[in-house]
């Protein structure tokens, strides 16, 4: 390895737990632990899973123009956020492609926190800084090294975390957050996640990561909480049809194509970057669309495999995998809009063999309320 991999504060813990470590976007991360991806996935669906997501990037935007600035850079409507509320959004480029997807947290009218993907943190930081003009009265701070982030997810997650904090968790609504103490440690407690389950993401100082991790593992031991690696994180988000940057999203993919029309507020007041291109694209109609599919013959579609319709190459798989909870082989693919309808028969070229699949509605999995 030519360059040193970055490590989260939990690196030693992962190794002690028997984590199988891989290079993930320059980070030395556990792809799975001893239990394996299927058990980790099922633990999160049935009980609780614990994820180290400290590699994610955090960028503070602070000052009187913070909201207007972020509203100009992202597709969702930042002016609609209340204090203590967060939303999912996208940083778009001038062609309407996606620089990154992110969460925007509003701490106050002059204080926003952007949480971005690990592998794109530097790119995002440069992109955001390059649009900071002298007229914007605000300060930008890349605080990625100042936080660890631990996600506790699953039907038992709220009850487990509640044992470690005096902050009442149940009243915190989905995509809202608060500041409080977890196991006596100052933390941002956010009811968000990337698994399709209920749960929280907890941000704290990196030197408290090991303490927090162990406190959560201990608090959830009776419930069978399991540490979960990147492989389970991926299968969980795929069953829930959540986008992964570099797969469903990229510099040359419009959020509208990726099914993110719900966070692309073309009607909002600010002229965000790429808005004109996206509005024009919507006007003429999308040529391609992200669609979910499931295999109807034995075979597993993988990222990058070609999609065929009526014998002609029509698209490409962006994410494909066995779905451990659904016990089906599923995937997401870009296909021409006309072929994106439920029930459409397609086939996937699996190492030279055309294997049948059909378009199905997404998300593949929706948690019981």
């Amino acid at each position: 390895m030519s360059t040193e991999l970055k490590k989260t504060p939990l690196n030693g813990v992962h190794r002690e737990l028997g984590g199988k470590m891989v290079d993930f976007g320059g980070w030395d991360m556990p792809v799975q632990y001893k239990a394996g991806v299927i058990e980790e996935h099922m633990a999160t669906r049935m009980r609780a899973g614990l994820f180290d997501v400290s590699h994610m990037g955090e960028i503070w935007v602070e000052g009187p123009d913070a909201i207007a600035f972020v509203d100009r850079l992202t597709t969702n409507d930042v002016t609609k956020l209340a204090d203590g509320q967060a939303h999912y959004s996208a940083l778009t480029n001038h062609d309407g492609g996606v620089v990154d997807d992110l969460l925007v947290y509003r701490f106050g009218p002059k204080r926003l926190l952007l949480v971005v993907n690990a592998a794109t943190t530097d790119k995002d930081w440069h992109w955001i800084r390059s649009h900071h003009s002298e007229h914007d009265d605000l300060a930008l701070r890349n605080a990625s090294d100042d936080y660890c982030q631990i996600a506790i997810q699953g039907p038992r997650a709220v009850a487990i975390l509640q044992r470690l904090t005096e902050t009442e968790l149940e009243p915190i609504k989905y995509y809202w957050f608060t500041e409080g103490k977890v196991d006596g440690v100052d933390a941002i407690i956010s009811r968000t996640g990337y698994t399709g389950e209920d749960g929280f993401e907890v941000y704290a100082a990196p030197d408290k990561a090991v303490q927090l991790w162990q406190a959560m593992m201990h608090a959830g031991a009776d419930e069978g909480i399991l540490p979960c690696g990147l492989a389970a994180r991926n299968t969980l988000r795929l069953e829930s049809a959540m986008s992964l940057y570099g797969h469903e999203l990229g510099d040359e993919i419009a959020p509208l194509e990726a099914g993110l029309g719900w966070i692309t507020k073309l009607g909002k007041d600010s002229d965000f970057i790429g808005k004109e291109k996206l509005a024009a694209m919507k006007e003429v109609g999308l040529k391609r669309k992200l669609a979910g599919f499931e295999m109807t013959e034995p075979g597993i579609a993988r990222d990058g495999f070609d999609v065929y319709v009526n014998g002609e190459k029509a698209g490409v798989v962006t994410s494909g995998s066995p779905a451990p909870f659904l016990k089906k082989n599923i995937g997401l693919a870009f296909v021409p809009t006309g072929f994106a309808n439920e029930g459409q028969e397609i086939s996937i070229d699996i190492r030279g063999k055309k294997v049948a699949a059909k378009i199905v509605p997404t998300p593949f999995y929706k948690r019981p309320k």
Binding site: K20, V37, N234, G299, I300
Partner: protein, 129 residues
């Protein structure tokens, strides 16, 4: 450490071979199943299919990866382990037992002499880092 039974022969592609007369039973090693992770699907040849040495005869897929399996010896497939259709996890749990994949009637039973012994395979694994 990987489990490497002494009574078997091994290929560089991490298959094991158990020899009974001119019939070779083939599977993947403990090291191979551990590298792959949870196995969810095994794509087999059919009984009667013929393969040359080192030809890909199927694939084994885990949640996150796919790996081709190669015949360490030339011959004709006489039986495939249909049990793996319902219980592919046997490849993880018992790679040298219930997780076997195919039986091949060898064209040349002497071919197994070229495969590694358990000691040689152990050295091979450590040389792979």
């Amino acid at each position: 450490m990987s489990n490497i039974p002494e009574n078997l022969k091994y290929s560089k592609d991490h298959e094991w071979v158990s020899v009974d007369g001119d019939v070779a039973t083939i599977g993947i090693t403990d090291y191979a199943q551990s590298s792959l992770g949870d196995v969810v699907y095994v794509d087999f040849p059919r009984a009667g299919d013929k393969f040359a040495t080192h030809e890909a005869f199927g694939s084994v897929e885990s949640v996150k990866a796919v790996s081709e399996i190669f015949t360490p010896v030339a011959g004709e497939v006489t039986e495939v382990n249909e049990g793996l259709n319902d219980a592919p996890e046997s490849v993880n749990n018992e790679p040298y037992g219930e997780g076997w994949m195919v039986k091949v009637k060898m064209d040349n039973p002497g071919e197994t002499d070229a495969l590694m012994t358990s000691a040689e395979y152990e050295d091979y694994l450590s040389s792979q880092g």
